[in-house]
């Protein structure tokens, strides 16, 4: 702690913090541009000037940049000093000399950091009489729009894109007042975090392109706290909607998970909820039907039928629980693919019973040695990949600490550190976009990845299963990795369901546990594929195979499928065989898919945009998402549909459910492992100053004209019985609980930087602590390891290839595929083969092959992946062509044409 005097009053601040950080944390309004809490200081914009005095007697003082000056005990500084004020005002004036006169046609207007700072410094009148420099804009792909004239050269974009996110295709060009930020030529931004440029840029140079298509100002959009549904990490997001349409998705700060940044799949994947094909009314054999007649029909069906239910890893806990209650726990099936079901159960076992706790993303970022086993993180859990990219800097921070360079002094730290990186070892099937920060990358078949993991565990601990037939190379490599992990203070082991291999997950668990046993604070990060995979696993239920078996045996003739496409979960033939035998198929969903197309009755379910619920992320944190708009006429949350079905059967316990809290409470009471979920967010009765929390900002416009074409009377805002938020601007938006903040705004802070005002200290926890409840606590710290049958060494076979699942950021995930901006960037199906193997078959890039895999035969073009091990291949999972394939598996490959058609 250091005591500093600011404008005559004394404050306690963290010694060594920069003054800007300290002042903002104390609640002062000090303008800044180039500094970012996650990226540190570079002193590029000269905006945060303050005056520092040598002693209380010194009245002259000197101007310093607050972001570049550490707080020391006894420091006297002044924000209010006339000279400092004048300096800041003139800096803004200089920055604005080239700014175009186009705020009215700028999508940043109204939430622009530059506007806020200009108002804050008091610059109002342009005195500069000369001409403004201009640039031509670039096409940067479907996510980000560029308007380069608005640039104030703060360098935040390039520092984020290159230094923080590791992008290569974006840079700064030219010099002095002509610096240009963009690509060397027009083209799609390659980095999977490019969407953050819209939030990082303090002005309107980089803006959200999908928002621009259907534009609304920040003050006009209702917001709601939500959870990203496009992978298992549970990033916190804010959803914005106006006039019943989703407009955009923003990062919602969560200190322990996503921090300030989101991946592009999360940011731009929301479009599935507004696509024209979305289910909006009940369908009976594909034909629209009214709600009443559909329920009437279902009453007859349910009275006679033998029902089983299949849940979903992308539906809320409440919806799954409602289905479980409707059909009975023994007739409830999880709806996970066979291998995923095994893996999710295994991961829960690992996290619950082993000594290594699950890592939050913040902990992953602080890890100083990382071993990644079998997980292509930039594609399966992109935000974790970004965290590991920061973890690679931990060694550099240690160097900086030794040299007494503050960690926030970004350029100095990077200069001192050069290319020194923390040890990160990545063993996967194919190359990953994280390889550039890795100390070692190993391209192995999944069995070999597991063998490497077991060997490392053995090398760490000396105990645990021995790897049979280990080559000297493997043993030596395991020694190197084990040494790096043992030398670290906070080692991290990352694995997950991506390689679809049980041995890989067990190996990862063994490594982490061995490290724990050696007294290291090892953490485990297990990646799961979907937003509620872990929650569903914790709830427990039968496997999909059990469900198919029950239908086959005649024990069930009616299937209720909750928000799930069975074709993604099992082989096409098996699914079709099952569906053919059913008498009735009832599907609840919002997004069309092949299972829904076969439904006898389809009930339109609410998506994350209209529904509320609880999701459990990969670290076992239960978090609540809140709807941003009331569900339109016939759509309702899945749990409400299931309650209505239960009412048809006269099930009193379920019929009594009136609002979400009832379901959550029932779920928590029925399943002790989920007992914490009621605490995930405040319930519907929560009030701030006796009123609900408004979703709409106080200046939400058009209230009396928006619906005037339908009714001249202003309709009453829809009620929201399920949440503490209201669908209007009435209520109180001060001192909000951290899990129910609908938008970040503070007086004089209209931009996303307003989040500063919601944090205990800038870049720290939100006031009120981290949202969500951890449901999984690590077991007792005893010795434990898996003793499985360790896979034999991988040997290539003649004429056959070991086809492993690969993952695409855009394409493998079910829902985001339907979002228009992401649809422009979908992965195309191809068979990945190593070039040597392809050459042996006489195949060039793009040549057509026939792939025989189990009962399926696919015709695909070949793509050459030099990283793949000989004898292995890869197929991108989750594409319509590859749905439900039981990967990894041996497959025959036959050339159809040797050159591209």
């Amino acid at each position: 702690m250091a005591s500093v005097t600011i404008d005559g009053r004394s404050y306690d601040v963290e010694a060594g913090d920069n003054l800007l950080h300290a002042c903002l944390s104390l609640g002062f309004d000090l303008p800044y541009f180039c500094w970012h809490p996650a990226m540190g200081s570079v002193g590029a914009c000269r905006q945060c000037a303050v005056k520092v005095f040598r002693s209380p007697e010194d009245h002259k003082g000197r101007l310093v940049m607050a972001c570049m000056t550490p707080a020391t005990d006894g420091l006297h500084l002044s924000l209010d000093d006339p000279e400092a004020r004048a300096f800041r005002a003139s800096v803004i004036e200089w920055l604005m000399t080239n700014h175009p006169h186009d705020c009215p046609v700028c999508p940043e207007g109204g939430e622009c950091h530059l506007q806020d700072m200009t108002v804050m410094t008091g610059h109002v009148h342009r005195r500069y009489r000369f001409r403004k420099r201009t640039f031509r804009n670039q096409y940067l792909g479907p996510f980000i729009a560029q308007e380069m004239n608005r640039c104030i050269a703060c360098y935040r974009c390039v520092r984020f894109y290159r230094d923080y996110a590791g992008g290569q295709d974006f840079d700064v060009f030219a010099s002095h007042r002509y610096v240009f930020f963009g690509r060397s030529a027009d083209g799609v931004l390659e980095n999977e975090f490019s969407g953050n440029l819209a939030e990082v840029c303090p002005t309107g140079v980089f803006t959200d392109k999908p928002l621009g298509r259907e534009y609304a100002r920040k003050w006009d959009m209702a917001g709601s706290p939500s959870i990203c549904v496009h992978c298992g990490l549970g990033c916190n997001v804010t959803v914005n909607a106006r006039a019943g349409r989703l407009r955009r998705l923003l990062n919602r700060y969560h200190h322990e998970i996503n921090g300030y940044f989101l991946c592009d799949r999360g940011r731009f994947g929301y479009g599935f909820a507004d696509q024209p094909e979305r289910f909006r009314q009940p369908l009976r054999r594909g034909q629209p039907a009214s709600r009443a007649e559909t329920l009437e029909h279902l009453k007859d069906v349910l009275a006679k039928a033998k029902i089983i239910g299949i849940g979903s890893p992308r539906a809320s806990l409440e919806a799954n629980f409602a289905l479980r209650q409707l059909v009975g726990p023994d007739r409830f099936h999880l709806g996970l693919a066979a291998d995923q079901h095994r893996l999710v159960s295994l991961i829960i076992d690992v996290l619950q019973k082993g000594p290594a706790p699950a890592a939050t993303l913040a902990e992953a970022e602080a890890a100083d040695a990382v071993l990644v086993l079998g997980e292509d993180l930039p594609n399966t859990a992109p935000r974790l990949a970004l965290a590991l990219r920061q973890a690679s800097r931990q060694k550099g921070f240690a160097i900086a600490d030794r040299l007494e360079i503050p960690r926030w002094l970004d350029i100095s730290v990077r200069d001192a550190v050069q290319e020194e990186r923390s040890p990160i070892y990545i063993a996967t099937a194919d190359a990953t976009r994280l390889d550039d920060v890795a100390s070692g990358v190993y391209r192995l078949a999944d069995g070999e990845v597991a063998r490497l993991g077991f060997a490392v565990a053995q090398a760490v601990d000396g105990d645990g299963p021995r790897v049979p037939d280990a080559s000297p190379d493997l043993a030596a490599l395991a020694q190197v990795i084990a040494l790096a992990l043992c030398e670290a203070k906070r080692p991290l082991v990352v694995s997950g369901t991506g390689s679809a291999s049980q041995a890989v997950v067990e190996a990862a668990a063994n490594v982490a546990w061995a490290l724990c046993h050696r007294g290291r604070e090892a953490r485990l990060s297990m990646v799961v594929p979907e937003c509620d995979s872990l929650g569903l696993g914790l709830m427990g239920g039968g496997s999909l195979a059990d469900a198919f078996q029950a239908v086959e045996a005649g024990a069930a003739d009616t299937l209720i499928v909750l928000e799930n496409d069975l074709y993604r979960r099992a082989e096409r033939t098996a699914v079709e065989h099952c569906l053919d035998q059913l008498r009735h198929l009832v599907v609840l969903d919002h997004t069309p898919h092949r299972t829904a197309a076969r439904a006898e009755v389809l009930l339109p379910a609410a998506s994350f945009a209209e529904g509320d619920g609880t999701l459990v992320n990969n670290e076992g944190r239960a978090q609540r998402f809140f709807s941003v708009r009331p569900p339109p006429a016939d759509i309702q949350e899945s749990w409400r549909w299931l309650r209505d079905l239960a009412a048809l059967r006269g099930d009193p316990s379920v019929t009594a459910w009136q609002r979400l809290d009832d379901v959550t409470a029932a779920c928590a009471a029925a399943l002790p492992v989920l007992a914490g979920i009621t605490e995930a967010a405040p319930g519907a009765d929560f009030r701030v100053d006796g009123a609900k929390i408004p979703r709409q900002p106080p200046r939400y416009s058009g209230r009396t004209a928006m619906h005037a074409d339908q009714t001249i009377r202003e309709p009453k805002p829809a009620d929201d019985p399920d949440t503490p938020l209201s669908y209007s601007m009435e209520g109180s938006a001060v001192a909000l609980p951290p899990s129910a903040i609908p938008y970040f705004w503070a007086p004089a802070w209209n931009s996303v930087q307003a989040v500063n005002k919601f944090q205990q200290e800038v870049g720290g926890l939100l006031r009120g602590g981290p949202p969500g409840v951890r449901l999984i606590h690590p077991g007792h710290p005893g010795r434990r390891s898996y003793l499985p049958e360790i896979p034999r060494p991988f040997t290539p076979r003649r004429g056959r290839w070991w086809i492993q699942p690969l993952h695409a950021l855009f394409g493998s995930e079910e829902l985001s595929r339907h979002s228009p901006p992401i649809a422009e960037r979908l992965a195309t199906p191809s068979l990945a083969l190593p070039p040597t193997d392809a050459a042996r078959l006489g195949l060039a890039e793009g040549a057509l092959v026939e792939l025989r895999l189990g009962s399926e035969t696919l015709r695909l073009p070949v793509s050459l992946h030099p990283a793949l091990a000989a004898g292995t291949g890869g197929l991108t999972a989750g594409l319509p062509e590859t749905l439900g394939l039981p990967l990894p598996a041996w497959a025959e490959v036959r050339a159809v044409s040797e050159t591209p058609p």
Partner: protein
């Protein structure tokens, strides 16, 4: 008695006063050019819509009776796809005109807009858009602002240099 006679006398004198009653609607009252009456959307001197759908009128409106949706023409020109004013709510305060950065929205000296049915007081864009410049001739926002639109490239707005080529090697 006296007061009665006095009243009758005063009434008689009124016969010789100037009449204040205007024969409305046969005769129209004089309205100053800055009278705050029926709201219109004007066009710029080139005949294009002035409104750029910046939403400032909507947010300035104290009764929230303006609703619009931004659209974008090929080439990047912003315009209102939809623009609705609910005159049954409008209080003719003129804040929208004051907030408008492009002189698009203007209040006109016209108050004759009574209706029997309140629905008819909801004016859509086609009811609001006129074909002239209104009170402010000569001003065109896009000639001043840096955004490029068809017919006005980068560097052709007020006070602008021609676009810089970032790959130029000269300093």
């Amino acid at each position: 008695m006296y007061s009665l006679l006095r009243t009758i006398w005063l009434i008689f004198l009124h016969l010789f006063h100037r009449r204040v009653t205007v024969e409305y609607p046969e005769r129209k009252a004089y309205l100053a050019p800055r009278w705050r009456g029926r709201i219109i959307l004007s066009r710029d001197p080139d005949g294009e819509e002035r409104c750029v759908a910046c939403y400032l009128c909507a947010v300035a409106c104290p009764v929230d009776c303006i609703f619009l949706q931004k659209g974008e023409l090929v080439g990047g020109r912003w315009y209102p796809q939809q623009f609705r004013i609910n005159f049954s709510r409008c209080i003719f305060c003129g804040y929208c005109e004051e907030a408008c950065p492009t002189y698009a929205i203007q209040l006109t000296p016209d108050f004759e807009m009574s209706e029997y049915d309140r629905h008819n007081l909801v004016y859509e864009k086609e009811d609001l858009l006129i074909s002239g410049v209104g009170k402010y001739p000569g001003y065109s926002f896009y000639r001043v602002a840096g955004l490029a639109i068809p017919g006005k490239d980068k560097g052709q707005a007020e006070n602008e240099e021609p676009p810089f080529d970032p790959k130029r090697l000269l300093p």
